[in-house]
């Protein structure tokens, strides 16, 4: 416990994220290939911060039309009605349906926005070389990584609602333009989480210590 914590990078070693083998790049080289599985290796994910920012900004931009534009358009004999994600949540709210309404509210509105905020927080603290709360920050990253896929729920709800309710001329449901942007938010936040290298959270520690 007295010896300072050493990282693979400080020892000039690269960890293979595919097979877990530690190996040393050729002298003077920054990158190479894993001799066991052939994966290309770096000390840290290449351009991690830039790539994460890019995906995150794309997600933040798509977030606005995703919430403003309708995701479903319902056509009945009496007319046409369009619903955004939030209106869909309100429509689901009933004495028996409120738990599902909460699931959709959580998965479609809270998770995507929380993910964008959480990733921006992680990026900013890495840029500022913060060395506090590293454990909580890596835990936050794991939550973001784990929970991201669940935002897709609304895409599936709308897909199967539209596929089933085809009872022309009585009633039919079609997907709206908001669905495209919503799906884009989910994909971009997942790609952002994948591009982020959690080891960067800890790197500030070592620079300050040494």
């Amino acid at each position: 416990m007295n010896a300072p914590a050493l990282t693979a990078m400080q020892q000039g070693l690269q960890n293979c994220e595919a097979c877990g083998l530690l190996s040393r790049p050729a002298p003077g080289e920054e990158e190479g290939e894993c001799p066991r599985c052939g994966q290309s290796l770096d000390f840290r994910k290449p351009a991690s911060l830039q790539r994460t920012w890019a995906f995150l900004m794309a997600a933040a931009i798509c977030y606005i039309p995703a919430n403003v534009l309708p995701v479903l358009t319902t056509t009945t004999a009496t007319g046409t009605e369009s619903d955004t994600i939030l209106q869909g949540v309100i429509l689901l709210w009933s004495p028996s349906g409120w738990p599902l309404s909460l699931i959709v509210l959580f998965a479609s509105i809270m998770i995507p926005s929380a993910k964008i905020i959480a990733l921006a927080y992680l990026l900013i603290t890495v840029h500022r070389r913060s060395n506090s709360n590293s454990e909580q920050r890596v835990r936050l990253y794991r939550i973001v990584e784990f929970i991201g896929r669940w935002s897709m729920v609304d895409v599936f709800v709308d897909t199967f609602t539209a596929a089933l309710i085809q009872l022309q001329p009585l009633m039919s449901v079609e997907p709206g333009p908001g669905l495209f942007f919503f799906a884009a938010v989910v994909v971009f936040t997942m790609l952002a989480a994948e591009s982020f290298d959690p080891r960067l959270i800890w790197d500030a520690d070592e620079f300050d210590g040494g």
């Binding site: 914590a5 050493l6 990282t7 693979a8 070693l13 690269q14 960890n15 097979c19 877990g20 083998l21 530690l22 190996s23 040393r24 790049p25 050729a26 002298p27 190479g32 290939e33 894993c34 001799p35 066991r36 599985c37 052939g38 994966q39 689901l92 349906g97 599902l100 959709v104 998965a107 590293s134 454990e135 990253y141 794991r142 896929r149 669940w150 897709m152 729920v153 609304d154 895409v155 599936f156 709800v157 897909t159 199967f160 609602t161 539209a162 596929a163 089933l164 309710i165 085809q166 009872l167 009585l170 009633m171 997907p175 669905l179 495209f180 799906a183 994948e194 959690p198 800890w202 790197d203």
Partner: protein
């Protein structure tokens, strides 16, 4: 340094490979890069990173056989889930049925092609790859040494897992079902139950599998490249 060893492109190819460290029990944490030694663990125990609590390794009992059994079960359930109707709707004497692929196809016909592709990818294609890759990995591991293509599949298995969203789709279907129940009578199809079972079988398949066991027995990429090079040289001399 690099070019002095040889003029041919093949010998430069071999130099791309890093030098592996001798002590194979030394690992670094994928989430914080801390160097540490993996202890010998009994099945059921887990090794966690002391700095960031990442689970580094959890050895499994009879990993490959159990994974194979669960993968075959998953493959059967997957085929059922994608061939029979999933949800039916009955209103004023009319009935409509849809499958998972039918849902994506409807989106496509309505002009939402991008979303249709995403649904098809996350609900149909990625799960198929996840199951197919696992089946090939486990069967490939019967050979000794484990052939290199198993390593290729194992390297990309994580991606198929990230994008395979059967359990998310299940939740989405349940929400859609409740929503529609207000307008019409919903008839749950056989595929719905197959998908429900598939969620648990897939989770079991993933947790029974120990990738370390496969990696330890695989033929190294470098060895393979060297062998290929020797073969090329031999055939070069012959001609």
């Amino acid at each position: 340094m690099r070019n002095s060893t040889g003029g041919t492109t093949e010998s430069i190819d071999l130099l791309m490979y890093n030098q592996p460290i001798a002590d194979r029990s030394l690992v670094s944490c994928p989430h914080c890069d801390l160097l540490q030694r993996l202890p010998d663990l009994a099945p059921g125990a887990a090794a966690r990173c002391p700095r960031c609590n990442f689970e580094l390794w959890r050895p499994r009992t009879d990993s490959l056989n159990r994974t194979l059994a669960l993968t075959i079960a998953a493959a059967i359930l997957y085929i059922v889930a994608n061939t029979v109707p999933m949800l039916g709707l009955s209103v004023v004497g009319r009935e409509a049925f849809t499958t998972v692929i039918g849902g994506a196809q409807h989106l496509w016909d309505d002009g939402s092609t991008t979303v249709a592709i995403l649904v098809l990818f996350t609900a149909v294609l990625a799960p198929a790859l996840q199951i197919g890759f696992m089946l090939a990995i486990v069967i490939g591991t019967w050979r000794d040494p484990v052939p290199g293509w198993v390593g290729f599949l194992l390297r990309h298995h994580g991606t198929t897992r990230t994008w395979s969203m059967i359990e998310v789709m299940m939740l989405g279907v349940l929400v859609a079902l409740t929503k529609i129940a207000d307008y019409a009578t919903v008839i749950p199809g056989l595929a719905l139950f197959a998908l429900g079972a598939l969620v648990f079988v897939l989770a079991g398949m993933q947790s029974a599998f120990d990738p370390r066991e496969v990696w330890e027995r695989i033929e190294w990429a470098q060895t393979r490249a060297e062998r290929k090079l020797a073969q090329e040289r031999a055939s070069g001399f012959a001609s």
